[in-house]
């Protein structure tokens, strides 16, 4: 399992279009990928293959998000997802 913290670099945050792109990216990997926000009152978790759960994270520009990947291609998944989120 790999986990890495990243700061959202998209100017509009994880809005609908960015979230859609993230889902499309995540489905290319076999690993399970999840996003976490620990900077809110209650920690939030989102499945990277569910656009609604990503939107419910409400991760705006500058938010800290942890990306966790678990599976055969976790290294590649973490790298590509984090690069995308960093903007």
């Amino acid at each position: 399992m790999k986990e890495r913290e990243i700061v959202i670099g998209h100017r509009l945050g994880l809005h609908a279009r960015a979230a859609a792109r993230l889902v499309q990216l995540s489905t290319k990997f076999q690993s399970n990928i999840a996003l976490f926000r620990y900077d809110t009152g209650n920690p939030l978790e989102a499945d990277a293959r569910s656009i609604l759960s990503i939107l419910l994270l409400s991760a705006g520009f500058g938010s800290k998000v942890s990306v966790r990947a678990e599976g055969v291609d976790e290294d590649q998944a973490i790298e590509i997802i984090c690069n995308y989120l960093a903007g």
Partner: protein, 158 residues
């Protein structure tokens, strides 16, 4: 002169026995609007809906739940087809960039979080799918951009 979609409304009236709704759609109305532009145009009149305006919320009997779930699935499928048509049109007219937003709507329609939650509400709260979609709370996610789950809401009404 504005007319309702009489075929589908007739089905709704028969299915749900809504006399007030029947009376409303039976009449044709002349609509006086705001003079927004100079001149006049002759063409098809289209009734504009607030995507979140649900004309009827009602409780269903437990044995109706299965049929309502099927109606919900059919409406999701219809919305998907409509969105794909719009996306193809957008790509043709304006290039790929604006059509990416349609991807978000398509992904919502296949999101288990959305689909399972609506089905759960229909089956446990015994409410019609339109009400279930509204009360599930997902519509507000898209409210800023007015990109509600309008496809499925609207299709459910037709």
């Amino acid at each position: 002169m504005a007319t309702a979609n009489t075929d589908s409304n007739h089905v709704l009236v028969q299915r749900f026995r809504l006399p007030a709704y029947a009376a409303m759609i039976a009449s044709q109305r002349i609509i006086h609007g705001v003079v927004a532009s100079a001149g006049a145009a002759i063409g098809r009149a289209v009734r504009a809906f607030d995507p979140l305006f649900i004309p009827f919320n009602f409780k269903i009997r437990p044995e109706q739940a299965r049929r309502e779930v099927e109606r919900f699935h059919a409406s999701v499928e219809k919305s998907r087809e409509q969105l794909k048509r719009v996306q193809a049109e957008l790509k043709r007219k304006t290039g790929p960039e604006p059509s990416f937003l349609i991807d978000a709507h398509l992904l919502v329609l296949q999101d288990r979080l959305f689909v399972d939650r609506i089905i759960e509400k229909i089956e446990t709260d015994h409410i019609n799918p339109e009400w279930a979609i509204l009360s599930a709370g997902f519509c507000t996610i898209f409210s800023q951009s007015r990109c509600h789950l309008s496809g499925s809401c609207r299709t459910m009404r037709s």
